[in-house]
Every structure is written in structure tokens, then in C-alpha cells.
């Protein structure tokens, strides 16, 4: 399946990625599983996505938790806790 990924704020800056298209096996893919796949890219990826920092995730613009399932064509985003207003 194909998904589109977005990174924001500290994640975008540290990972040096703002957006990317990913092609993944058609297994059941949760947010947690996707994080562990991305974490294998290297230390900084592991620290950012599976480390001590709080990371929030959204699928198709809706906030979701680690158990949420990603489907083909979804837009997935990772970002830190929000600090607007």
C-alpha cells in the first residue's frame, strides 16, 4: 500500500523530512507499527518516534493513538504536542 507522510515542528527539523511518499507491504499497519518501521532508519529516527519525546499522530487529519490502523492512500502525520494560541 501507498501512504503519504508528513512531519511537523521539531520532528520535521530533526528528521529533515517535511513530507514523503511510502510504499509498504499490504499487512495490517498500525501507527505503532509504522513508527517501528521508521525507527529502523537510524538513531535519530528512533529517538524522535520511539524515544522519550511525546509524539502525536494523525490519520487523514484526525488525531489518533498508537493502535489506529492505516489504510492504503491515507495521509499520516507525526508531530509533537501542540503549542498554539
Amino acid at each position: 500500500m501507498k501512504i503519504k507522510l508528513f512531519y511537523f515542528a521539531r520532528l520535521k527539523e530533526t528528521l529533515k523530512y517535511s513530507t514523503e511518499d511510502l510504499e509498504l507491504p499490504d499487512d495490517v499497519l498500525t501507527i505503532l507499527k509504522l513508527k517501528s518501521v521508521l525507527a529502523k532508519r537510524g538513531d535519530v529516527w528512533g529517538q524522535m518516534l520511539m524515544g522519550k519525546l511525546k509524539v502525536r499522530a494523525a490519520i487523514n487529519h484526525e488525531l489518533v493513538d498508537d493502535k489506529a490502523v492505516i489504510n492504503d492512500g491515507d495521509e499520516v502525520a507525526f508531530f509533537p504536542p501542540v503549542t498554539g494560541g
Binding site: 509533537p80 501542540v82 503549542t83
Partner: protein
């Protein structure tokens, strides 16, 4: 209902005038304007940069207004949030709520701000003489939001 994310500044007087020209049964207009403080958590702030998630941010703000409308008897609501680079004392965010009576407008406006602070995808980066850093989320903001689930 109006939701705007923009780099340009806003004029609260213009926004209120538009809301009040729409109907003549508005009795109360409660507004919140957030400003960049020159001091945050003990550090001086020389500049602030705001990032957002185009698409999701607007949906999130619209959903917060819908929640406020379902809880209080309000007529209309507007949120304008700036992004990009701002200086101390610049305006960051504007929330306006109109209603027949003031109690509903006060509660709904504070509710919108408490949810915006904790749920709308915006991120602040502060700059001072020591460099730049991302602002950490505050547990006080979560506490402020969580009040609304026990209190009406």
C-alpha cells in the same frame, strides 16, 4: 462560523463589526486576543515562529467551534490564527463568540481557547539571544481543557 489561518495581522474591530451586521439579536460579544509576550517561562523572547498543518489545522478549529455550539447557546464564532514570524506584543490569535446573553459567550470563548491550546496543530518556536528552541506543551493547558469535561 469562520476559521482562518493567515500570516497577516487582524483587526478585531473589523471582525466584530462584520459579525454584528449579520443580525440584530446579538446581545453579547466575547473576544480573546492572544499576544506574543516578551518573556516566557523566564526567558526573554525576541521572536516567535508559528508552524501549522494546512488542512488539519482548519478542520480542527472548525470542530472546536462545533463542539462549543453544541454545548452553549451561541450564535456565531470566529477564529483567526496567525502563522509565520511574530515579534513581542504582536497579535497571535483572535477568538470571537456572539450570543444573546453574556454567560454563554464567556464560557464558549474560554472553551474554544482551552481546546485550541491543546488540540489544534500549531507549534511555536521561540528565538532569543541564546538561539532558537521549540516551545514545550504545558500541563496547565491540559488541566484547563480537562475542566470542561466535568464542569458545564
Amino acid at each position: 462560523m469562520t476559521v482562518r489561518v493567515q500570516t497577516a495581522d487582524f483587526d478585531i474591530g473589523v471582525e466584530i463589526n462584520q459579525l454584528r451586521q449579520a443580525r440584530k439579536d446579538i446581545g453579547a460579544v466575547v473576544s480573546f486576543v492572544g499576544l506574543v509576550r516578551d518573556l516566557n517561562d523566564g526567558d526573554t523572547v525576541s521572536q516567535l515562529t508559528l508552524e501549522y498543518y494546512p488542512g488539519m489545522t482548519e478542520k480542527s478549529l472548525a470542530a472546536i467551534i462545533q463542539q462549543a455550539k453544541s454545548r452553549w447557546n451561541i450564535m456565531d464564532a470566529l477564529i483567526v490564527h496567525r502563522v509565520g514570524t511574530l515579534q513581542p506584543s504582536d497579535q497571535i490569535v483572535l477568538v470571537i463568540v456572539t450570543s444573546a446573553h453574556r454567560g454563554d459567550a464567556f464560557s464558549a470563548c474560554e472553551f474554544v481557547m482551552d481546546y485550541l491550546k491543546t488540540e489544534a496543530p500549531f507549534w511555536k518556536k521561540e528565538a532569543n539571544s541564546a538561539g532558537e528552541h521549540w516551545v514545550e506543551a504545558k500541563s496547565a493547558d491540559d488541566t484547563a481543557r480537562d475542566r470542561w469535561s466535568i464542569e458545564k
